[in-house]
Amino acid sequence: MSANLAAILYLVSGVLFIQALRGLSSPETARKGNLYGMAGMAIAILTTLLSIQLSFGALVLILGGLALGGTAGAVIARRIAMTAMPQLVAAFHSLVGLAAVFVAAAALYAPEAFSINNADGSLHMQSLIELSLGVFIGAVTFSGSVIAFAKLNGNMSGKPIMLPMRHFINLGLIGAAVVLVFMLGGTGGVGASAHTLFWALTIVAFVFGVLLIIPIGGADMPVVVSMLNSYSGWAAAALGFTLENTALLITGALVGSSGAILSYIMCKGMNRSFISVIMGGFGETAAAAEDDGVERTVKRGAAEDAAFIMKNAGKVIIVPGYGMAVAQAQHALKEMANLLKEEGVEVKYAIHPVAGRMPGHMNVLLAEADVPYDDVFELEDINSEFGSADVAFVIGANDVTNPAAEDDPSSPIYGMPVLQVWNAGTVMFIKRSLGAGYAGIENPLFFRDNTMMLLMDAKKMVEEINKAL
């Protein structure tokens, strides 16, 4: 295939990727968009295969790699529980990062194969810098995502790990990386010393990625996942420059800006600056302010009480949080909504932007339980409706309903947009215990007169309510 035809086909594949994201503007067009994405990928892979000289050995390697990875991917995609999506996405990010590291390594070891060498076999300085950027971002994405995966999957505590002098260590690592890139540039990318410098740079980036994520607390995980999404895109884009490949350039830019926008939305949802999330440590100090010695009483309720109130309500707004996902209560919840609808109750769902462990996580879980998406509303669309609701049914959420965010300037979450559930006639909280939320902050709503605490496992409680209905 001629180089020009190949370049045009890569452009087509880039445009199809844009279409794939464009489709996600509504659930109706999204499925078609996904098919565009698959077509774009198929075109990119076939174009590459037709542009290179394939020996039998190479074909075995390529088909072997595709079969091995493809089977693993397909099996994972089929089996993964929707509650585990955040971990899966973190794991996928790490794979993109690692693939970027190996592609960059390949370009350094055999620049002739990628036609980025000078006549004497050395690499262009520009290619070396692009390649170094690609490997650095790729390696940071890899190790950072591995840590994010471990935290999300529970292999590692969600508590922030604060190393002493960590800012200096990080600055030192960045300095070391810059020096290594310069030294690599000095070798022209040729010989064993260039290879050693390359791997040294990779290791520095691995360490940097780990140190970047360990101080970030569990409550900030939605930002971390989005941020690593962005990095995986920038790594691809950097290599797109090295490989002079339009599809890679366009995709890298798309994914990079996508992750950046999601990080921004998540930060805004928590009223936190991106810098303060990166600096980490959120959720560590807040717990100290918990016990002020004042004995306060809560009104506890039973399933029958809750069922009675909701049956006689005109409008119920359900506020799901990560606790619902942990308890796997979404199917029982959907049944409850159906029972209430049969009684003539209007039922809606309200979703906070940072509910769950990643952007949009709650929506997927509700969709899995067959909740129609037009019953599900975003914070800004539904917040004014709590005043006209008889019941706000909070299941497994806490911090995102905390009024302290609006009226207590000393609260760590002050200024964060919250769902104003307290405007509803009755607020029902399903929780396992009276403990503080994920961010370690006490919720004053628990002690209000119109609040009813339903202290039990979310799934069991909803099932009992269903029985009583």
């Binding site: 790699g65 996405v89 693939a99 390949a106 370009a107 999404n229 830019a253 798309l254 999601l262 952007p359």
Partner: protein, 113 residues
């Protein structure tokens, strides 16, 4: 004449930079129009498409040293093919896993009634 001709030719890098910059803007506008309800599928599908990095891996896996290259170069090409194989396998996990899990999620989104 020759000097003038080379002076006006633009480094191809600049064209790539232009594509990249414009694609960043396209990404910005396209992603803002994604409904928040589909942010999880968005992340899954971006995982899948960023694995288009597989094109680099395919080139690496098929790298051949020229005839008569010395042993060191041959060894480096051997490593390159190995790196390519690993990267193909890693990216394939994402390509198949990312698109299929997105499809699975999107199939669950249903309208009322």
């Amino acid at each position: 004449m020759l000097a003038i001709a080379t002076a006006v030719s633009v480094d191809p890098f600049v064209f790539r930079l232009a594509i990249f910059t414009l694609a960043c803007f396209v990404g910005y506008f396209v992603v803002w129009s994604v409904t928040p309800a589909l942010h999880t599928p968005l992340m899954a599908v971006t995982n899948a498409i960023s694995s288009v990095i597989i094109v680099g891996a395919l080139i690496a896996a098929s790298a051949h040293a020229f005839m008569g290259s010395d042993a060191e170069v041959k060894a480096a090409f051997g490593m390159t093919r190995f790196f390519g194989f690993i990267a193909i396998a890693l990216a394939s996990v994402n390509i198949f896993g990312g698109f299929l899990v997105t499809q699975r999620m999107l199939a669950m989104y249903k309208k009322k009634g």
